[in-house]
Symmetry: C2
Subunit: 177 residues, 2 copies
DNA sequence: GACCATATCGGACCACGGTCCGCTTCGCAA
DNA sequence: TTGCGAAGCGGACCGTGGTCCGATATGGTC
């Protein structure tokens, strides 16, 4: 079923595949698709999960600077960099999963994880900031929609990476007394 | 027609009003609505435009710090503050206009204006940054979806304002040599 | 006033996401 | 082997956003 979706997505582009088509391709009824995934976003999320879990593992237990052991600021920039790579490789899927239903992005489990991760690091780097909010603000430029739009407008991936890294470093470098 | 939409939106909530209903309320056919506004987002954009133009005017010709005359950093934070007020007052409408079709937010005229405005100020405050990208990054936390989600999660408006202002100030305060 | 060309309009129509309910199928007990 | 309850399934169905084309109004010309 996920394979069927993956095949059709690859062939026709994510946005041009209806759930009917996926159900047909998988040889099941539409109801079954919905029972399994809840809604359209759920399907995309499921497809992304495998890829995201890889990054999650690296963050939690991998080697620095992505994993534990490096200074907080470095871990943040390493994460942003890695996420942008992931995002860029699967933009369409991300757009689908984040945009399918209102506020979907912020309800997804992985968003929560990224947020907790960043909030923790922000707290370490700059305990004077509102870590909770700042983590959201750092994630905001990673919105799939924005990324898609910027890439479509001619921004190269490296430019986005650099811009975001510089901003994050500036923001999180400990305040001078 | 805009009045009809406004009335129904106010009564039933933006998301619960179908375009059929608006067309009926306005006493015209659905086709007419679409010819005039293109799509659902177009309607919301039209309704927001009046409100946004007020802010646009203040930015371009009003008194400092929103208008010209104040230091760039102050103008940026004044803008973010004012925008958050506007956004908070019309969240539903903003969500509708930004989320209705993929990438809609970044195609809208007013987004372009906000972006140009910020890019100019960023360039003044920190010419070493990628002003174009940084302006997008500053606008990212103003996404209606995020705002809606955060408010729904218990964040007070003032907290969001403060968090964003502090971040913007930190980011744009001229780098020490 | 009669005629026609053109612009504007309205609502039937389509595809899609999402729901729902009747039917099948399966596991188990007698 | 048969009977029965439960669980899982499928596709008919609904509301919505968006398209499209036939009908209608408009206004210009003889």
């Amino acid at each position: 079923m996920l394979e069927a979706a993956e095949r059709l997505f690859a062939e026709h582009g994510v946005r041009n595949v209806s759930l009917d088509a996926i159900a047909a391709e998988a040889g099941v009824g539409k109801g079954t698709v919905f029972r399994r995934f809840g809604d359209r976003a759920g399907l995309s999320v499921a497809l992304l999960d495998e890829r995201e879990q890889e990054l999650q593992a690296k963050i939690l237990t991998g080697p620095p600077p992505l994993g534990p052991g490096a200074p907080a600021v470095d871990r943040v920039t390493a994460f942003l960099d890695a996420y942008l790579d992931l995002l860029d490789r699967h933009v369409e899927l991300f757009v689908d999963s984040e945009n399918a239903s209102e506020g979907a992005r912020y309800r997804i489990g992985s968003y929560r994880l990224w947020h907790r991760h960043l909030a923790l690091l922000v707290e370490q780097a700059r305990s004077d900031l509102d870590a909770d909010y700042t983590a959201h603000a750092l994630l905001a430029p990673l919105a799939a929609d924005l990324h898609h739009a910027l890439r479509g407008a001619g921004f190269e991936l490296d430019r986005l990476k650099t811009g975001l890294r510089v901003a994050a470093e500036t923001l999180l470098r400990p305040a001078r007394s």
